[in-house]
Symmetry: C2
Subunit: 391 residues, 2 copies
Amino acid sequence: MSPVAAESALTREVVDAVRSVVGDGPVALHEPRFAGNELAYVKECIDSTFVSSVGKFVDRFEAELAAYTGAARAVAVSNGTAALQVAFMLAGVQRDEEVLVPALTFAATTAAVVHCGGIPHFVDSEEQTLGMSAPKLRRYLESIADVRGGVCINRNTGRVIRAVCPMHTFGHPVDIAAIQAIAADFSLVLVEDAAESLGSTVGGRHTGTFGLLGTLSFNGNKTITTGGGGAIITNDAELGKRAKHLTTTAKVAHRWEYTHDAVGFNYRMPNINAALGCAQLEQLPGFLAKKRELFELYRAAFARVPNTRIVAEPEGCRSNYWLQTLVLDESVAGLRDEILTATNDAGLMTRPIWTLMHRLIPYRDCPRMDLSGAESLERRVVNLPSSPHLI
Amino acid sequence: MSPVAAESALTREVVDAVRSVVGDGPVALHEPRFAGNELAYVKECIDSTFVSSVGKFVDRFEAELAAYTGAARAVAVSNGTAALQVAFMLAGVQRDEEVLVPALTFAATTAAVVHCGGIPHFVDSEEQTLGMSAPKLRRYLESIADVRGGVCINRNTGRVIRAVCPMHTFGHPVDIAAIQAIAADFSLVLVEDAAESLGSTVGGRHTGTFGLLGTLSFNGNKTITTGGGGAIITNDAELGKRAKHLTTTAKVAHRWEYTHDAVGFNYRMPNINAALGCAQLEQLPGFLAKKRELFELYRAAFARVPNTRIVAEPEGCRSNYWLQTLVLDESVAGLRDEILTATNDAGLMTRPIWTLMHRLIPYRDCPRMDLSGAESLERRVVNLPSSPHLI
């Protein structure tokens, strides 16, 4: 068999494996499902005229998110990027301070650092979880960082490194305990980007609750959606109160006066979007069960496809399996684009991982460690159709 | 009659005048009205699953806003604050550059300047329109500003003054022609905060279309609402395209790749909110007619109340009469709080003007001109119940 024919064989096997799980298609990468009280709750908003910044669904969505994640407080905001920006602000990130973020992430993580005046500093990812590599990060910080008076300084740039922000890639939990230990040892504030990991836990504890602040996203492609939306979660009730204040224009409560005691943001989630969220949250356990089932089917189907693996939750963790993740061996990485083309041409929507952040024009000059792990994953990762209602 | 009795008499007359127009109450300051296709369009979103960042209602809302305002392009975003921030960025406001804004405005105008790294520089307001005082601004700039190489420099601070941002207060059009002339003479970019003035025109041309960029708001308290939302409008199609790109994460179009060529924002308006907006736009002419009628009723009722006036549109302009505006004479300004208390106690919701921006903690050190006009208005303005369905 020639090498070209061998390559085509793998691609065909991938297409067949996906089709064996989700059928003939066409199927999207991830679609929301509105099979519950969405319309009833939205109608209630419209009938009551409370569609906007005040309303019972915002309060209810926040209370239910806090209860579900176990956080002391959840603050609903306009989206995950806004949540991250405010979380970084509350973490104390000042102008020109660095924040350690994975190079392998969606652009929101890095943009939010810049939005609050900070500078992203890129960290490598590990093979198993696709998340920040804790061992590499520790060795790297040992080589470039000094902790002086409780502040972490980057010896190379002379700047403060204020925070570290791991992200739970596609819902698969990162090794958060190891990163918590690094944050403690290097005086870094831990902010968790849990945009993709609603429903994912580590040792029974919800992702996003291990640091000072965590953030969630309810964009249309996420496990549950509010149209557009996100949340800040925290175990520090005072910080939660501050997050609410800053994201609702920092207005001081008064019967009629309009006074603001800080430069606030209009990042509130409208009530009509929270209404969708409340209906979606009711269905979350069902979505998660379906996504887990879908994972098992993909794992079984790809067990027969050589040089591939389906990412599985680490021991002691639960993944929400937001986006099912196929990883090619390095030996067949050259086939990634052929696989993407073949699956999409067959109506089975797949996509590669995001272009790594350090390659993007606005971040090319940002500090970084060796990123060979993330660069290898970038060549080899393909997300598969992941909607909960595919099965 | 003692002075105290005289004061109480005016307050009673104000309560009676408001009641004669809107009835016994309780009435809110401004409530939305959903009497059209709101639920049908939202249901369409939910049924189609397109509630989020892509969908036909976003495209339609943008096209209809452009058609209605006469702008070459309208870009729907998450709210008016976000619209202003991106408008200032596109106007070229760089870190530590100044932007001339009214002291008499909602906190969004100033917060947006800070969000893009700029410094608000406060301008006084005039009695008739409650908007920027063009004559005072011109005299002031003549005294403190130099134009060097096409750039306006503040001699006092040494900083660039990049832009001027008048706001059409409560929908009443500012003297935009005079401010256009100042912008031209002092090399300032004109950005119009038309958050409150959808439907307001100057010489038949819609507010927000006189500068390089304008911004709208569809917050729950506005003339039409999308729950939360705003828009950037511009006559420069290329700039409009850039606004769309920056507010939608600056993603480069590709079949599956995720590449971003700038630090973008997630400021898109979700499709479900745009669906509300499309239904609301259909009713806008009716809302405007009702609000104009309400203005006439207030004007007639207050013609009999001494030392007061109801703000009317300047000649050649149309106001949308978003918030009906009562202005007390300086001689009875001391009664403002009594009037606010009495009307609110009577279930007739009223409110004073915003606390002026230069008094707020975060803006106390910002540069400013003499603000005696705005300070006088601050003591004397009371907004009256203004919902279109009150009559």
